[in-house]
Symmetry: C2
Subunit: 803 residues, 2 copies
């Protein structure tokens, strides 16, 4: 077990004293204590909550051992001093580590170190000052169950017991992070309708967008808070069945494309500037909403933030239930319905209490600063909003967000699916999220128009060519960088759904902008990080948002690492890095280099496999992939070139984008190439989806949502190989994804392309594999056409960006 903390802010003694007063561990009484033992006892008694009876707290104290022979009650009653060992024996138990199971009472410091927990710099016997510092550090140390001790205490009712009597600060900042002092039993839930500057449904009225606000009850008492917006098109319901039915057939064939001479200008999207309808006339204004709501799913990180003094706002955008308009899968109207909400929260746009009466309601409880959270489509719209430069958006925590929709559904002139979603496309996602149809009246009213719009999306996405076109250019957020918000970018290095290039390209676009950018790269696929034991992601977000939204000078920009990468070899290991893919150290190998062995001796291969094998593999692509990666005899021997390196003589880390240059020919006048780079070596590897370590152990507030503790753990069994990265290209898109080149059968072309960026440690003794093939059954059209390819390895190369 290893615990890594990145959100702890080094704090000086004077500040510690102030903060311990704020949380009531130091009081007029305890402050004056000169005996560290007495003070320690007082701290512990307070830890067990003064609302509980004295005897109850004494008993709790007595259940904890201070030394191998003495419990904490006796110790603090009878011993003359606080020894460092006793302090940390007790500390470990308060942090919920078990004697016997997790550690032994004679070696607490060893255990603290092993776990990666911080130990205060104190003498073997603690002075009062040292005790205060050590206690402060302990409160900011993470428990066995994935939260700081002070958060755990809050979850037990530590702050709630004080009620309003003790005039606790709200918000209350402790070690730079906002604390769970807000009463979650009284959260206010209200709906407003923002009038967005768009008329997506062309009805001559600005679109109304439904917004669900959860704000601390304390805002009714005058506390002003920032807001965290999660823009989730899924949130008002999804049309799973009808979307499934639209799934495109991927059992097709690769086809020749007519060459064109397109330049970017030919496919550039230029927005039409339609005049907008006039805003509604405001009939009256109010501070009181008239609609409330309940929710099914909420983002646990948001629930945590709510108890910690942030309002949480959910909105789903144009075309979702109770809003106007239609879904567009990523065009500017989805961005505008997002930024309109931000503008309302920033006091610059109108919202109404309902859809009919034009009674305006301000976000009067909001301090005007807005952050965004959420993963996948949610993170995507955070990207969209951030790059739009909307006022009021101070930061976005972008988790696995799309930065360019072409890269989500296409690649280098090919239809390349998001992993796990073969046959999905922009039209299907639009249908999935068009939740307006879940209300019968809207369903009946919009049916025909929606069918027409879906057809337009289907035509625009153009599965026939896979080319980048005006439709996709319109949905490329990277085209416009007006960013003003600081960004905390989070992405899974094994995310084959929203692939790492989305984060990588966004990062490269904005990293020299005048903003603060932080990046967290984990070893999962499409996953959230807020409930992991090995990393204090939630605390990092707290520190970050306090800085960005509360404007507290808590050092977030310097304390948090610029790039934090989870190691792929050793579990629970997170390492700060300076950059990602800085390209300072690129090593090029020719593919006929002695370092590489051609496993099956091929320089040619056919896309065709035995029909029976193909049938099995196209239904069970995991089996195909495993066969493809096998280096001994395999059913894919005829359909791939497999190169394998010598053993790594030392750990080697690939940092960034691998590029390949292949001298290739097809025996048809069209062709597609795939390249996978694979780590070979028997090893325990991490699960790409988190394992639940313990259910409902994380308290996001007092009598509030409980969360499961999770982690990417080692898989049960050792495996032989693992994909590092891959890439795909249509040989007719050699120059770019919109210009279609001619391809002559049996003629050689130099095909260059980049694979998905990664950060991957190839362990010493492992080998690097390079596989060249055509159809990728997980991603491309599932074709079994007999197309033969040849690669001149002497004229082909790979560029490895090394750390």
């Amino acid at each position: 077990m290893k615990i890594n903390q990145f959100a702890y802010v080094p704090t000086d003694h004077a500040q510690i004293i102030n903060e311990l007063k704020d949380v009531r561990f130091l009081t007029p009484k305890t402050e004056k204590m000169s005996d560290p033992v007495m003070l320690f006892r007082q701290f512990l008694m307070k830890f067990f909550m003064e609302k509980q009876g004295h005897s109850t707290r004494i008993y709790k104290l007595s259940t904890i051992m201070a030394t191998p022979d003495e419990d904490a009650n006796e110790y603090t009653k009878t011993e003359p001093k606080v020894e460092k060992n006793a302090f940390y024996n007790i500390a470990l138990q308060l942090l919920q580590f078990e004697v016997g199971l997790d550690f032994n009472l004679d070696e607490p410091l060893k255990k603290m170190n092993e776990l990666g927990l911080p130990v205060a710099d104190v003498a073997d016997t603690l002075t009062v000052g040292e005790l205060i510092d050590a206690w402060y550090l302990l409160l900011n140390t993470r428990t066995k169950f994935g939260q700081t001790l002070i958060d755990y205490l809050a979850g037990q009712g530590f702050f709630a017991q004080m009620g309003t009597d003790e005039s606790l600060k709200a918000p209350l900042f402790f070690n730079g992070k906002s604390q769970a002092v807000f009463n979650t039993q009284k959260v206010i839930r209200e709906v407003v309708y923002v009038e967005a500057p768009q008329d997506n449904d062309n009805d001559g009225k600005l679109d109304l967008i439904k917004v669900e606000v959860l704000r601390p009850a304390e805002t009714d008492e005058g506390v002003v808070v920032p807001a965290v917006l999660t823009e989730s098109p899924y949130d008002q319901g999804t049309n799973d069945d009808s979307a499934d039915k639209l799934t495109h057939d991927v059992n097709g064939e690769l086809k020749r494309k007519e060459p064109n001479n397109f330049t970017y200008d030919d496919i550039k999207f230029v927005p039409e500037h339609k005049p907008l309808p006039a805003p509604r006339k405001i009939e009256s204004t109010t501070e009181t909403a008239e609609e409330t709501f309940t929710k099914t799913w909420t983002y646990p990180l948001n629930d945590y933030l709510l108890s910690h003094g942030f309002a949480v706002v959910y909105s789903s955008g144009v075309g979702t239930k109770d809003s106007d308009g239609f879904r567009t899968t990523g065009d500017e109207d989805e961005t505008i319905s997002t930024t309109a909400v931000i503008e309302w929260l920033n006091h610059k746009r109108t919202a109404f209490t309902n859809r009919t009466d034009n009674v305006a309601i301000e976000a009067w409880w909001s301090n005007g600063n807005v952050g965004m959270t959420g993963r996948s489509y949610l993170g995507t719209l955070a990207n969209a909003a951030a790059l739009s430069g909307v006022e009021g958006l101070k930061t976005a925590v972008v988790e696995a967000g799309i930065s360019n929709w072409y890269d989500y559904y296409r690649e280098n002139g090919l239809v390349v699916a998001p992993g796990g979603f073969q046959g999905e496309d922009a039209d299907i996602l639009a249908e999935l999220t068009f939740s307006r149809k879940q209300e019968a009246t809207d369903y009946v009213k919009t049916k025909d128009e929606w069918a027409k719009r879906l057809k337009e999306i289907e035509a625009g996405e153009d599965r026939d060519t896979g080319n980048y076109n005006r439709f996709w250019d319109r949905r490329n957020y990277l085209n416009h960088d007006n960013i003003k918000a600081d960004i905390l970018l989070v992405h899974g290095l094994n995310d084959w759904n929203v692939k790492p290039s989305h984060a990588f390209n966004l990062r490269n676009l904005i990293k020299n902008d005048d903003i603060t950018l932080k990046t967290v790269l984990h070893q999962g696929q499409h996953e959230y990080l807020h409930n992991f034991r090995s990393v204090d992601f939630t605390d990092m977000v707290n520190l970050w948002l306090v800085n960005k939204l509360y404007g507290v000078d808590n050092g977030a920009n310097t304390v948090l690492p610029d790039v934090l990468v989870q190691d792929n070899v050793t579990e629970q290991t997170w390492t700060p890095e300076k950059d990602w893919g800085d390209n300072h150290n690129v090593k090029q190998y020719q593919l006929d280099d002695n370092w590489l062995t051609n496993v099956n001796g091929n320089t040619e291969f056919s896309n065709h496999m035995n029909d029976d094998d193909f049938k099995v593999f196209s239904k069970d692509t995991a089996q195909w992939r495993s066969e493809l990666y096998k280096l001994d005899e395999s059913k894919t021997d005829g359909s791939a070139i497999k190169l394998i390196s010598q053993e790594m003589s030392a750990d080697t880390t690939i940092d960034g984008q691998i590029k390949v240059s292949l001298n290739a020919k097809s025996d048809h006048d069209f062709g597609a190439l795939s390249v996978a780079v694979v780590d070979y070596g028997t090893a325990k590897r991490l699960t790409p989806t988190p394992t639940i370590l313990d259910r409902m152990r994380i308290f996001t507030g007092f009598n509030w949502r409980k969360d499961d503790l999770r982690e990417f753990t080692y898989q049960d069994k050792e495996t032989e190989f693992k994909k590092i990265t891959d890439g795909h290209i249509n040989m007719q898109n050699r120059e770019n994804s919109y210009k279609v080149d001619d391809l002559k059968a049996n003629e050689s072309y130099q095909i260059e392309f980049a694979l998905e960026p990664t950060f991957f440690r190839i362990a010493k003794g492992h080998k690097l594999g390079i596989l060249i093939f055509s159809s990728d059954l997980d991603f491309t059209v599932k074709s079994n056409q007999d197309i033969k390819y040849a690669i001149d390895l002497s004229k082909s190369s790979i560029d490895l960006p090394l750390l």
Copy 2:
């Protein structure tokens, strides 16, 4: 999709009017309305909650379609009458069914019928009286997401909006069920320590048992409520690692046992009557607890009950954290620490506010009536308490409870594991639940004594012989039937962990007692039922507990079916039955009957398999089982007799315990036999664990716990066979499980034993398979000894109990 409701109580019109007044749909104003359209509109406006603005509610009304052309707002404003079709179009939408996806607006009644939803007996045009009746029925109808509409409304804040102003009744009974009118934001959580009449740790003091109480805040205002106790030894934490380490090796060999001549008296457990220590002297009394708590896991059914007016009490018993004593895995001390809590709730036993001060606290908020809930070990202790006849326990909902610990870890003189827990035993479960060791002081203090006690349990359980002995007799709850509580028994027909015989044997023991007994048999394994769509289990429990604990004459005993069985062939189908295994129709077949074909022609078989196969199979028992069940060539051909029946000419239901009588010999002087009965036929079969249909869609109260909607659905693929039941016997335990008989090599014996009871429909065209073999890698010792068995099929028979 099918929805089955069993907890609806037929209610007359006068009573309906009273109840609709109680929930405020009828008010002094609406009561007088003579126009059904106006009244309908009022009902709908109230449905959308009067706390919300008028326009908001009108808008909601307008999102619903009443006819294919008219929305509910227009309809109730302009139409002269309420048509039945319009009513049910609206009804389906209020029940959250979607137009287009789930039903069409021209055929609502057809859909109601298809879904199994009740339709009021009203004319095509509703009178006011009919509208009232139909609205009442609708409020008591289940939504698409597994709860009654009135429960859904409560979850939206319907009752909460009324606050205390409208002097809602609390408790409020509606259609015989208690409603979610209790304020879950203010639940009181307090700890007491019950002084149990036992001294398990022999310290000369009665054992204190920690009890966690969650009670409605309304109890502080004078509402008196019943309590639901869940006695869970897991609840204070489990020692997973140290318990795992104790796992017994099951890669052993079957051994000959020395014959004995034991009668029951030789192994009967006779309790020692040790005098108990004197109770503690009560120093003072109080009504105020001094310790509070938070919980990680809670039982969602309990959370539901809490919002519906029941206090919920958790206790873990002797040997768990913060209680005295040691774990015993099922002996009378675990029963006593359970019943002591019930006695406290029944005002007949003392509890203290803490472990030291002897300040007594009564359960003054309790009406004295106690129910129990919980599955597995939790249900086990409910069995133990119920059979003890403890005063105050009015009912137990026993879910997958053990009724005899021998049947959990042993069978007919063999060590037979609970499914999925090979190598577990009573000692390991004791270690797992001894959560006292999680507190360092207790860990240090009890280490030696606990090691000694564990050794005693290990000796007592006697894995060497697998015989029933004094240790197990002590843990056989079926020995003593003092039952006074009504029982709602719930068990999975595919539960191979706590096998169906536990429920079957308990049922047979108590079914003629002077209590009410209800039984629910589902198609899952070891599962809860509270969040299924196809069955209103939670409502049944509500109705049941209101009757038993609130003493309301709501007809629960007659409304609820005596035996409710989920069908194994058709999903979402639940059928009331009169009894389970009444043995009125037993059909006997000789095993050489023409009806049966001997598939591999064996009358002999060896326990030994090819060593390589055995190695693979003993690691992957699913593979072994699949091989064993295969009727074509199989690696188990030499180690089993496989008999298969002719095709069933009609659906045939096995109801109860299949018995076999085998004329068998072993070529050793010991031997063990296994028999499995298998359903053969290609079919989609149900998942034994529930599928999550929808996350967090069930509201167990307002701003309270959300629960996932689940169901046993069809597996993705058709399967060829499925185990119906099985059984195992040591040939030296021919008479019973404690008397060891001699066995001579190569001599024939008639071996009779019963298989696990079941309720299984063999579909027309399917075949029944009977497999006879020895080692069962999932359950018995994994032996590959070369023991040869022969069965004289002409002298062997099977008894099939048919419905």
